[in-house]
């Protein structure tokens, strides 16, 4: 019965209850409710389908189709330092891809997190309402630019006009045209709006009374911002950091274009690296036959990626809920 759960019972429902039988109108109501429930279920089915697809192709095979980890041991996957699915001598070690992913995400975090947080502090604590009103839409535009545009930006502007003049001509490093640094920089730029808007929300939800108490005790604006407001909003800020890093790990097109396609185990930001996402794109663009280990490795990589981002998203929600300072 629907009315048992819904707090509001409409007169029509009450009448139906009193009469003790179901009218056509009530049947229609129930049908609509059922259809809407199915719509809501689509999102759950999507999640289940993602997990099903990734697991059946990488962990347990269905029918005659063997899964990736039935062909390649988990131990090799996690410890082998070569990733050469396209060569005659195949090696499936995720470390080079993981290293590339973390290198790019690390550079992005180094740029995006501090800049995003600082602009959140500026917008929340220092900026005049007019500046806020003008700057926020610009951040939104930046957030809405497709990632392929950032990839182009990295390849055509950041590497030749920023990285090469500084690091190659001035400091003497050997900078490859595809390099992790340019990818990291543009991914960092991409996460700034996200960090900034989420952190700003966290900063603004700190009650005004705390600021005024700080000023009343003779603190400077810097003291209030850095020693009162930031610690008070730390849970929201950390949550935004985690979401941003998760986004940086899952970022695909900008990284594929800017960082290149060579799975080397290196921490040198001037070299070309392959991330997990760009490997997936690479396989999909080639003619890898369905059913071969190198084709199935795509699912194993995707599963790893899915687990990493899911863990960070869940952790972010947990921090938000668990450590939120509740005022009033």
């Amino acid at each position: 019965m629907t009315s048992a759960n819904t707090p509001l019972r409409t007169p029509a429902q009450s009448a139906e209850l009193l009469r003790g039988h179901v009218t056509v109108a009530a049947l229609k109501e129930r049908l609509i409710r059922g259809v809407l429930f199915l719509c809501a279920l689509v999102s759950v089915i999507t999640t289940l389908a993602i997990i099903f697809v990734l697991v059946t192709e990488s962990i347990v095979g269905v029918g005659s189709n063997t899964a990736f980890f039935q062909d390649v041991s988990v131990w090799e996957f996690l410890t082998e330092t070569r990733w050469t699915p396209q060569y005659a001598e195949q090696h499936f070690g995720i470390l080079p891809l993981l290293c590339g992913t973390l290198l790019v995400a690390g550079i992005a975090a180094l740029l995006g997190l501090p800049v995003g947080l600082a602009s959140a502090v500026y917008l929340s604590e220092y900026a005049s309402p007019r500046t806020r009103k003008n700057v926020k839409p610009i951040l939104e535009i930046l957030a809405g630019i497709p990632t392929i545009v950032y990839g182009y930006f990295a390849l055509v502007f950041v590497t030749p006009y920023l990285i090469r003049p500084v690091f190659q001509d001035l400091l003497g490093f050997n900078v490859s045209i595809y390099n992790a640094l340019s990818a990291g920089i543009v991914v960092g730029i991409m996460i700034i709006p996200m960090v900034s808007s989420m952190s700003e929300d966290a900063l603004r939800s700190v009650p005004r009374g705390l600021r005024e108490a700080g000023y009343a005790l003779g603190s400077t604006k810097f003291d209030v911002s850095a020693r009162v407001i930031l610690p008070a909003a730390i849970s929201g800020i950390l949550a935004s950091f985690l979401l941003a890093i998760s986004r940086a790990i899952g970022e695909t097109m900008a990284v594929t274009i800017a960082a290149g396609q060579s799975p080397t185990l290196t921490l040198n930001p001037f070299e070309s690296v392959q991330t997990m996402t760009s490997f997936i794109v690479n396989v999909s663009q080639g003619d890898t036959p369905v059913g071969t280990p190198s084709y199935k490795s795509l699912y194993a990589i995707a599963l790893t990626l899915f687990c990493m981002t899911l863990a960070m998203n869940l952790l972010s929600h947990f921090i938000m809920r668990r450590f939120r300072e509740v005022y009033e």
Binding site: S43, L54, G144, I148, V156, Y215, G218, F222, T277
Partner: protein, 348 residues
């Protein structure tokens, strides 16, 4: 500019002299830190603005002289001077049409269920948490989902493609099974991708409708669905539409999932052979064929040009990006206009 709402108390000099010289120095260095901190925060904010300006200026510079009428109406070509984005534009139009067709009704339906019907049970809470997690799943993972479920259909139909033909009088509907690398596969994938965004936006719009409207409708004897259909939905429609437009504008720029479901890099035809809006009426067979044909899209063509070894194609790519950004700008501007109109007109 910076300090107008809140007073900034400085430690007064009198106080400092009372405590001696050291205190003065400490207070000065403190002030200096404060100034430096504010400067750093201000620069961080303007950094984003500067990036946007450089990005746009650079794109205009690179595409200068390349973005003309021929670029818009030509098919792709091996010669940079003749390459155009016509196939991409039509591909993106078809993709967006079908993506909206699937994601908007289901998304709004889900939002109505969650906001208006759902009892506060564990399942409801799970659906809600699941939504926010889905929004954080990398788009390439959706691409893999689409590749397996729509393009290959789990390999359930064997190696040979079967075609399910349905005669509709004015034309034949020919559905390939599995769906293969078609407009429909890609649109279904993009629908799943933007569904969480549509649902969350619609939920917010529904939540903004005050309870008194519902109570009033119930009091007049309306059923739950009548209330939603005639009161709540119309009142929240502008908000929902704004969310839908923003979600679709995200889908237009998506590249990775389209690559996964097999968008073609180099295409010199449009889906169904339809090349102008009049064809939609005069060529019914083309309309029926369009969802089941190979396709490309604006971002895919851009990627093709970015990766091209010929140097001139970076100008073509810049022109393509400008087209993409203009489409996005138009969509976002209409969303903002809609929001403003709605905010100024509706008062509860």
């Amino acid at each position: 500019m910076s300090e107008q709402s809140q007073p900034v108390p400085h430690q007064s000099d009198e106080q400092s002299t009372v405590n001696g010289l050291q205190r003065t120095n400490a207070s000065r260095s403190k002030q200096r830190i404060g100034v430096a901190f504010e400067f750093a925060c201000r620069m961080s904010t303007w950094f984003s603005v500067a990036v946007l300006v450089v990005l746009l200026a650079g794109l205009i510079w690179k595409s200068w002289g390349w973005l003309d009428a021929d670029f818009l109406t030509n098919f792709d070509s091996r010669h940079p001077g003749e390459a155009g984005i016509w196939a991409g534009i039509w591909g993106s139009v078809w993709l967006m049409f079908f993506t909206m067709l699937f994601s908007v009704p289901i998304g709004i339906g889900a939002a109505i269920y969650l906001e208006e019907y759902a009892p506060p049970t564990r399942l409801t809470r799970f659906i809600q948490i699941n939504l926010s997690n889905l929004a954080g799943v990398p788009s390439i993972v959706y691409g893999i989902l689409g590749l397996t479920t729509f393009v290959r259909m789990f390999g359930a139909f064997g190696a040979n493609q079967k075609v399910l033909a349905i005669s509709l009088g004015f034309g034949n509907l020919r559905i390939p099974l599995p769906l293969d690398r078609t407009v429909l596969s890609a649109a279904l994938t993009l629908s799943l991708l933007i569904m969480p965004v549509v649902i969350v936006a619609a939920q917010e719009a529904l939540r903004a409708v005050p309870g008194s409207i519902r109570h009033g409708s119930f009091a007049l004897g309306a059923t739950k669905w009548q209330t939603i259909r005639h009161q709540v939905l119309p009142a929240s429609l502008p908000g929902i539409l704004t969310g839908v437009i923003l979600a679709v504008s995200r889908a237009i720029g998506e590249t990775a999932p389209l690559l996964m479901v097999g968008a073609f890099m180099f295409v010199t035809s449009t889906p169904g052979g339809i090349q102008n809006p009049v064809d939609l009426l005069t060529n019914p067979q083309g309309v029926l064929d369009a969802p089941f044909e190979p396709f490309t899209a604006i971002p895919i063509q851009i990627l093709n040009w970015v990766q091209h070894h010929k140097h001139e194609f970076e100008h073509v790519a810049a022109a393509g990006i400008i087209v993409l950004l203009v489409v996005l700008l138009v969509m976002n501007a209409s969303a903002v206009l809609l929001r403003n109109r709605y905010q100024s007109k509706v008062r509860w």
